[in-house]
């Protein structure tokens, strides 16, 4: 029986974060059942509400209305939206009242901003002793670089992953905005751990989160390796220290590639059969893993002579059926077309009142007795009435007054 009790039902999150490193963390909590209230100033909305992901389409849309940015709609599913001008004293006070009705409060503003407007941990803790507050910053809340600003690619660079990404004979490469979403995932984890702790002990706490450090933690073996060998790990392209073949090969067509990795002699034998060159498995240049690694360049050349004349997806299927790890190097259009992702319901369908139906990437897990909520990201200020009246207990008149004073958005 699927009773679909969402695991975080009854947990409320006050979300003062914006862009990606923060909003996606609270979206993960929302998809697990928490009530997430996204607080924005209506004059200082989440930048992603207007976003088109770089590089711009041609012709570039000149102006994206605040509910239509894909950078917003993809990382704010199943939340509620409150507009509140927290630069006004009344707005800040309401924000504080809301915050202490939340189990968790999160922000990714610059160090000190939340403290100044009474939303810092010290102030909130006095009003609600078991509150959990997480502040997510580029380099952390204290220290000589605490005020250094950053974005995803900068964190990827400072944290050490960009340095080892790319070809040895070329410049290092950052990844893209995914570093923000990674940081969100780590943030969601530590929030849930802190929440577990609170449920067991009644004790809340403040969490000071560094987005650069989170990158380094996902490459911890590099720090140990450097101390053990005295060598700084460098870029290796698609190559592996021990395995060959282990690379990305050109396929028929323009800019089509397939990735292939062979981990054992048995896999190599199977591989040589697929490409119709079983004699390679007996060739002393390629017979053992060590020999293949030594002669990797020659081997890659032989392989690419075969792959460049053939269709990518056909080859991938042949290799996979033969028990070899192979995959197309998919671009983003390919992702929507992937039959495996389709079969696993990896996408979620929502109806957006301004854009129409949207098919977006869903939650990155399956779980028994769980159907992910399928609610779109909220329109700007969509839940003002709900939050102000039902959670904060304001009267209709008081809400109208806030509207007149421009503390919350019109309409």
């Amino acid at each position: 029986m699927n009773d679909n009790t969402l695991p975080l039902e009854g947990i409320r999150v006050g979300d003062f974060s914006w862009v990606w490193a923060g909003p996606f963390a609270t979206m993960l909590l929302a998809m697990l059942g928490a009530e997430v209230i996204k607080v924005e100033g209506h004059k200082r909305t989440d930048l992603m509400r207007h976003s088109v992901i770089w590089p711009l389409a041609d012709p570039a849309p000149a102006d994206v209305p605040p509910n239509q940015g894909m950078g917003y709609n993809t990382v704010n599913l199943n939340k509620k939206s409150l507009t509140l001008d927290i630069s006004k004293p009344e707005g800040a006070l309401l924000a504080q009242q809301l915050a202490i009705k939340c189990d968790i409060v999160i922000d990714n503003m610059r160090s000190g901003v939340m403290d100044r407007i009474g939303l810092g941990y010290e102030a909130l803790h006095k009003l609600r002793s078991d509150i959990i507050v997480l502040s997510s910053g580029s380099r952390g809340k204290e220290g000589p670089e605490k005020d250094f600003p950053g974005y995803a690619t900068i964190h990827n660079a400072v944290g050490g992953v960009a340095y080892v990404t790319g070809y040895p004979d070329d410049a290092p490469s950052t990844t893209v905005g995914d570093t923000d979403l990674m940081n969100s995932t780590t943030t969601a984890f530590i929030l849930l751990a802190a929440l577990y702790h609170r449920l067991q002990t009644g004790e809340g706490q403040f969490i000071d989160y560094s987005q650069c450090e989170a990158v380094t933690s996902l490459a911890g073996e590099m720090a140990l390796g450097y101390q053990m060998t005295g060598r700084v790990p460098e870029r290796m392209g698609n190559a592996h220290l021990y395995f060959a073949p282990h690379s990305v090969y050109r396929c028929w067509g323009v800019d089509h590639w397939l990735a292939l990795e062979v981990h054992s002699n048995d896999e190599f034998i199977a591989f040589t059969r697929v490409i119709g060159k079983p004699e390679l498995a007996q060739d002393k240049r390629f017979k053992t893993m060590k020999a293949r690694k030594r002669n990797e360049r020659t081997l890659n050349h032989i392989i690419e002579e075969w792959t460049r004349q053939r269709d990518r997806d056909w080859m991938v299927n042949e290799f996979c059926q033969a028990g070899i790890a192979a995959a197309p190097s998919r671009d983003w259009q390919d992702i929507y077309a992937d039959p495996h992702l389709r079969a696993r319901d990896a996408f979620i369908k929502v109806q957006h009142p301004e854009i129409g139906p949207l098919e977006l990437v869903g939650v990155p897990w399956k779980m028994s007795d769980y159907t992910p909520p399928a609610n779109r990201a909220p329109l700007l200020g969509e839940h003002n009435d709900y939050v102000l009246r039902q959670i904060l207990g304001l009267s209709e008149k008081q809400v109208a007054e806030l509207r007149n004073k421009d503390v919350i958005s019109q309409g």
């Binding site: 073996e221 053990m228 282990h246 259009q333």
Partner: protein, 406 residues
């Protein structure tokens, strides 16, 4: 202070390499009681390295030592009946089971989902697999390289590579596995919290491909609905992106108008950046490439650390592309005491990467170094599962914990 964050949670992990072990480490460093079950020959990460002075040794592999801190370890030969019995008892002992072997592996040795759930109906069983447990590609092999490309991440890099004759490239290290581990930890924690209400166990299916696809969600939707298309994406406007310095590289993100104004001032207001139009983001989006050669030339004369301090303290977003050596010498990491010293009885004393979260009430810590192979066999069997010393010796003799030939 009321004890460690996750004290009281019992975890067994039947894991290998990175995705499963790191998920266990995340919980263990916060105080969960994590028992790692290894086959007699050990986790394959023990053979990967790097090793001190490049001498392979199964207790000295950096990859293993990092990903298995704060755990106890037991070796089990799951081909023996006694090994299976102990594994069953550990499933009954635990709140959480983490498994990152391919779909069907545990079933093939007698532990189907039904068997596991029957043994412990309250168990949270977290499975991490390359493509998930269902779907047409469930049985396909996948690892870092293939999954990075299958998920749409590899295709984006190297960024700003104008040369499409060169293959797209994976991120360095084990990014797919690490990120999958964190995702698995999120949903595992949520299930543990929800358990308080339902009392019912769950099976969690984390597909590593979907984890990475999930991190690219804004761009993926944009490619469909706004026709943006990325492949080895140009990273320059509106913020300039990667730039060369006299000693390496950095990433400049002077995206907003005030960032650019401060940058221009720090550069000494050169004539080729004069005019108010440069303080307009929209203008820069279209014209930044016009002055890229001059900006690159300026940057190539700078030292990455010095220019970062100079500009970032004025609020310009940028950061050096740090090697691990740079990071270990960085004063912010030092100030936050990010690296933590751990002494391992065989491998010795090293500084380990820590955690990005500092917690006022229940901070993470390494409570013990990674377990030696089979280090806690006796302790776990006798103390946790209440076998007598005599029974333990009998099991040992009959090969339940394996006979290790090294």
């Amino acid at each position: 202070m009321a004890g460690a964050t996750l004290s009281g949670i019992r975890v067994i992990e039947y894991t290998n390499m990175v995705a499963g072990p790191y998920c266990g480490k995340l919980l263990a460093d916060l105080g969960a009681d994590v028992i790692k079950v290894e086959p007699p020959e050990g986790d394959s990460a023990r053979t990967v390295g790097p090793f001190p002075n490049d001498k392979p040794h199964h207790e000295k592999s950096a990859l293993f030592l990092y990903n298995n801190t704060s755990k106890r370890g037991i070796t089990l030969n799951l081909k023996t009946e006694e090994g299976k019995e102990i594994f069953t008892q550990l499933i009954q002992w635990a709140d959480v089971l983490i498994d990152n072997f391919p779909p069907g592996h545990l079933e093939s040795i007698g532990f189907s989902d039904e068997v596991i759930q029957k043994a412990n109906p309250r168990l949270i069983y977290t499975s991490i697999t390359p493509y998930g447990r269902t779907g047409p590609r469930a049985q396909v092999k996948g690892d870092e390289l293939t999954l990075a490309h299958a998920s749409g991440l590899g295709n984006l890099m190297p960024v700003r590579s104008a040369d499409i004759r060169r293959a797209p490239v994976k991120p360095g290290g084990f990014q797919v596995a690490y990120q999958s581990a964190v995702n698995a930890a999120v949903v595992t924690m949520a299930a543990l919290i929800g358990m308080g209400r339902t009392g019912k166990g769950r099976i969690i299916d984390v597909s590593m491909q979907e984890v990475i696809v999930g991190l690219l969600r804004p761009g993926i939707a944009s490619s469909r609905y706004q026709r943006a298309s990325w492949s080895r994406v140009p990273d320059r406007p509106p913020a300039m992106g990667r730039m060369k310095t006299n000693d390496g590289y950095l990433v400049l993100g002077a995206a907003e108008d005030n960032h650019f104004r401060n940058l221009r001032e720090m550069m000494g207001n050169p004539p080729w950046m004069a005019g108010d139009q440069w303080l307009n983001m929209n203008y820069r989006s279209h014209h930044l490439m016009d002055i890229a050669p001059q900006m690159d030339a300026w940057m190539e004369k700078q030292n990455k650390k010095e220019v970062t301090e100079k500009l970032a303290s004025k609020g310009v977003p940028l950061g050096p592309i740090n090697s691990i050596k740079d990071i270990m010498e960085n004063k912010q990491y030092t100030f936050r005491q990010y690296f933590t010293e751990v002494e391992h009885p065989v491998a010795g004393k090293y500084k380990y990467a820590g955690w990005p979260y500092q917690m006022t009430a229940s901070p993470p810590r390494v409570s013990r170094p990674a377990p030696l192979l089979g280090e806690h066999n006796e302790e776990i069997v006798c103390k946790e599962l209440n076998y007598s010393q005599k029974d333990y010796l009998r099991l040992k003799k009959s090969g339940t914990f394996g006979r290790i030939k090294r």
